[in-house]
């Protein structure tokens, strides 16, 4: 990592500048550090350095019992905590073969999709802010606030929800909550148009995002991209469709796809996901069945010996949990998270090359990483 030695004799000896972007930088979304090697403003190479937020959640989880881990999962992707909860609980349910009641599955679907919208709100705000459009940020946060209010009513917290239990929900939904969710859907539908009015057709936005960080479908797959970045490259892969969980098999929705695989397509895909999520929420909230919210769960959660990998579609991509139980203890023997942000961030180096410094922040934004999840 040392600076290139001075080359004598070259008349125009332009320096290859090494620029440390982060870990304190307004656009690296937390504590990401990107060591850029620049030729002028052109990025020659980018070394992505992570680990500044590493809290050892996996190790920690191996020393907590299964119920306590729900709370740790909140702390990974803290802008989509409920999705993490759902993914984890479903993994343990799969391991223990617990049947989750339909009502709980419906609520989980609503929660996941609300969380997707909240996460995308934060993404569209910060992504636009990185590219310099600051108004969208506040608009998006205004709507995210509504979602946080809904969550607060559901589980009493606004950021780290701890909203799921193995086997179902901790509590039934508050009376009238589903109607509030439907009211929110109405509000949000118009607001998505508002964001799009500010960005989608904006000439500057198009110039800043079109053709930036192009990644073709096969390469995106090989690089392990998932979620909107993968779909932006035109790969029809959505775990909600392919391996349905919660109540997604009963929902009607489409999987938006991009064509070119550039920053703009990733943007368009997420904007369309807003609408699809609203559609799912409407169906789920209108169709919440009556019944219990917790399945038959033993008092002591002690899964049989075995291991399983279960993935769900988090707002960022494939969020997988790999849990190994030794059948003897109430703690998982091994708890592993496959964090979508981590795997998506890996592509940053490939995406950055040949682009300008200004594009690096756009690309970080288009990957939508949350460092809490990258580092765990």
């Amino acid at each position: 990592m040392d600076a290139p030695a001075l080359r004598h004799g070259a008349m125009f000896d332009t320096n290859e500048l090494e620029l440390n972007m982060g870990p304190q930088h307004p656009s690296t979304h937390g504590v990401l550090r990107v060591v850029l090697r620049l030729d002028g403003e052109k990025v020659v190479d980018a070394d992505v350095v992570i680990g500044y937020l590493h809290r050892g959640i996996e190790k920690l989880s191996e020393n907590r019992n299964y119920t306590q881990i729900v709370l740790l999962t909140d702390r990974m992707d803290y802008v989509a905590a409920a999705t993490n909860n759902v993914g984890y609980c479903e993994t343990v349910e799969k391991l223990m073969a617990i049947e989750v009641p339909r009502r709980a599955r419906y609520v989980r679907t609503i929660v996941c999709e609300l969380q997707r919208i909240a996460s995308h709100c934060l993404w569209v705000g910060t992504h636009a802010m990185d590219i310099g459009a600051m108004t969208v940020f506040l608009y998006a946060f205004r709507e995210r606030e509504l979602i946080l209010d809904l969550f607060e009513e559901l589980c009493g917290a606004r950021l780290t929800y701890n909203s799921q239990r193995i086997g179902g929900l901790p509590l039934d939904i508050p009376p009238g909550w589903d109607r509030k969710v439907l009211a929110f859907v109405e509000v949000m539908t118009g607001k998505v148009e508002e964001y799009e009015a500010l960005l989608t057709e904006n000439r500057i936005w198009l110039e800043r995002t079109k053709g930036v960080g192009v990644i073709e479908g096969p390469e995106a797959i090989a690089l392990g991209l998932s979620g909107p970045p993968l779909r932006g490259s035109g790969v029809p892969r959505d775990i909600r469709k392919d391996e349905p969980y919660a109540a997604y098999d009963e929902m009607q929705f489409e999987v938006p796809l991009g064509k070119a695989g550039d920053t703009y397509d990733r943007y368009v895909v997420r904007m369309e996901e807003f609408r699809q999520s609203l559609r799912i929420i409407r169906q789920a909230a209108e169709g919440i069945p009556e019944g219990p919210v917790v399945g038959k769960v033993p008092r002591l959660i002690k899964p049989p010996a075995g291991e399983t990998y279960h993935a769900i579609e988090s707002p960022k991509g494939e969020l997988g949990y790999f849990v190994v139980s030794d059948g003897k203890s109430t703690n998982p023997y091994r708890f592993r998270v496959r964090p979508p942000s981590f795997c998506n961030l890996q592509a940053l180096r490939r995406l950055c090359r040949g682009h300008l410094v200004a594009d690096v922040v756009a690309l970080i934004g288009s990957l939508d990483v949350v460092l809490g999840e990258v580092d765990r």
Partner: protein, 169 residues
């Protein structure tokens, strides 16, 4: 009287800064002194009641060209290690010889101009009044050909610079 004081003060500053331009070690400081030098030259023009020239001096030289100098200085790595100053190819005597020649030339010019007749009066017969108009008139009538040649030269230099700088065309 006041004019003379002003002139000599300005001249002293101009010369002082000119010396500093070549005397400072830091390239950026050197360029900065060059800017100051240009600004004082502009003040000299003001003293000569040629505000147009003064403004153009600031705009083109201080504002434009030296910015490009700075650009180059900051982009190109000039911070060579000290031993680079001991350049074996340095021809000290050649430098002295050239300096002496230029000094002699300057002295000759000074002698000639002081000894010769007073220069012809300013172009009094210009059909336009006003500083700007006079400059324009002279440029496009009497000095048209030098002006055009100068602009051609600049164009050639520009194209040459682009060709040199651009790695792939």
């Amino acid at each position: 009287m006041g004019e003379a004081i002003a002139f000599y003060t300005l001249a002293a500053f101009i010369l002082g800064f000119a010396v500093l331009v070549i005397a400072t070690k830091d390239t950026v400081h050197s360029v900065l002194f060059l800017v100051l030098d240009f600004l004082f030259v502009a003040a000299l023009y003001v003293l000569l009641e040629a505000p147009f020239l003064a403004v153009i001096q600031v705009l083109v030289y201080a504002g434009g060209i030296v910015v490009l100098y700075l650009f180059v200085v900051m982009l190109v790595n000039l911070k060579r290690p000290p031993e680079a100053h001991q350049d074996p190819r340095r021809r000290t005597w050649l430098g002295f010889g050239l300096s002496a020649a230029i000094l002699a030339e300057l002295a000759a010019i000074a002698l000639y101009s002081s000894a010769g007749a007073a220069p012809a009066g300013p172009a009094a017969a210009l059909p336009v009044a006003g500083n700007t108009e006079q400059v324009g008139w002279l440029l496009y009538t009497r000095y048209l050909i030098p002006f055009e040649i100068a602009s051609m030269l600049l164009l050639v230099a520009m194209i040459g610079a682009i060709v040199l700088a651009k790695r792939e065309l």
